[in-house]
């Protein structure tokens, strides 16, 4: 049984990964690989939706940084969705994720930001 669930969908041609549950050192690497595999060759970018995430530890944070680096190598961008006022937002701010990936409050905003750019 996995602590976390990953659901992949495509919105306006953009891969969107919904992560829920808990991410820690037991599953971060595997989740990172599965999300990374969704990165499309057609460009655009990737949205990682953490709205339903209950917990993330430093290993999970590291996984987000790595996803951002991976996308950058493909000249794409990562956008992370964190609801307004969520504890997770404090955590991502603490670790300085904004240096590597922009954050949005909703999936719609993230998709709009990426498609507008693309």
């Amino acid at each position: 049984m996995s602590l976390a669930d990953l659901e992949l969908e495509s919105i306006e041609g953009l891969p969107v990964a919904h992560l829920s549950g808990e991410i820690d050192r037991s599953n971060a690497a595997e989740l990172g690989e599965r999300v990374g595999a969704a990165i499309g060759g057609q460009g655009g970018g990737l949205v990682v939706d953490l709205s339903e995430l209950a917990f993330i530890d430093s290993t999970g944070i590291r996984m987000l940084f790595e996803l951002a680096a991976e996308l950058k190598r493909h000249r794409q961008a990562l956008r992370v969705v964190v609801p307004d006022g969520a504890h997770l937002g404090d955590i991502l701010e603490t670790v300085g994720l904004q240096q590597a990936a922009a954050t949005d409050h909703t999936v719609g905003e993230a998709v709009a930001a990426l498609t507008h750019r693309g």
Binding site: S58, F65, E93
Partner: protein
Amino acid sequence: MEGWRRGWRPYAAKIAVLAAVYYGAAKLGLHFAFASSSVTAIWAPTGISLAALLLWGYRVWPGVALGALAANAWTGVPFYAVLGITAGNTLEALAGAYLLRELADFRASLERVRDVVALATLGGIVSTTISATIGVTSLLVANEIASGDFDSVWRTWWLGDMGGNLVVAPAILVAVTHWPYRRAPGRPLEAVVLAAAALSVSAFVFTHDTSLIFILFPLGAWAALRFWQPGTVVGILLVASVAIPLTESDKGPFSGQSPDDRLLLAQGFLGVASVTMLVMAAVITERRRAERAVEHIAGTLQESLLPSHLPAIPGIETAVEFRAAGEEHLVGGDFYDLFQRDDESWTVIVGDVLGKGARAAATTGLARYTLRAAAVHESEPSRILRLLNDAILRQSPDQSCTVACGRIDPTPANGARVTLSVGGHPLPLVLRADGRVEQVGHPGTLLGVLPDPKLADHTSELAPGDALILYTDGLTDAYAPGRIVKRAGVVAALESCAGRSAAEIASGLSEAALGSSQAEPRDDVVLLILRVPESHAVPNP
């Protein structure tokens, strides 16, 4: 002369005890001998002799000789044959002990598989041929047996002695070396249940003609895995106490055979079961030993990653709380350090390395010593963190850590100036003397992920009565997601600690954030407090 006397008495006592026990066991064994012949199942005196020589040394051999002589003297066998049998028994014990000690580096606790294998082969199979050969030859020369019976008598003698060394010797060795039998995980009540099960299942098995011996196997595994060597030897003795009398009266799975064959089968079963269970128990105790070694290494390593004590800083109180998550051998994780930079200033560090285990420990070591080295010639904490970021990217590219690094300079007004840089770490807090709580520092990037992390320095002043609080995310997330302490919760807890000492703030805050939960925290927790006392009259320990 005094020493000689003092040493002589215990030696004589040991010989007397050994001779008496040997004699008693031999007479008891012959008393219970199968009706049809003078052979017995497991010949206990052989096991007693071997155990005595292994525990007390070769020099107690006269005890074996005296016991054997007394036991055989009045059996009606000519005296020269009795001497032969006695010599055979004594040589057997000496040879067994010699082979085990010199050849096998034998340890009497039987905690290693090699000890069990050595006892089974050198003690059980090899040394017992001596007594069988010399003893049966003595009987043949004295015309006590016909030459045609030599083979079968030799075989019975040999197997009886082997039974003694496989069943009785381990029982004595374990009884002596494992005292007081508290190391195995099995509980006393469980032992009583197991013993009752062993007796009743044995009684069932050895009263039924169909071979149901296999239903004893799970009990054997239970005894070996939960009660180790003591459980094994007691279990075998209990089964033997049921199996031998019932087999002797022609009941159970070996019934229908000749008395001698029944005896050999029961003996064979007990010997093989004993060795098998002892090997199983030895595997468990060897694993335990390996775990201990790993724990010791991990503990030593962990100690090298954290300061053994906080240094006393003139004019500043210090306190630290550290709670490690996970098992003992999961080293690495959170770390902290506090050391003098130069005559005036000090460096304080609280950090959190990604993950746990050997790789994390290596990165923790890299972080701690890179920070210490960098702090010597770099005055700006952001520069120090940048050097650490470079070092991680260069040396452990798949690792990362968060660090809050501060330089403490005393100010003329009996206060201190704190210059902080924070990389991916929760921002430190300042508790003012009047109870206000402020966040200090600028958020920066996690170290070890980006070549150019965002890192800035921030300076704040600590007046007398003010305290600087550095912590890792374990303080807020140790029991996440069930219990997450928001920053507001930390702030509220701190406000109630205004005016208290550094140690009181540390315990008050950890109590408020972590509770008195006995549960294992999910993440390490570090909480480090530096406080400027109201008056310098406060002595520094």
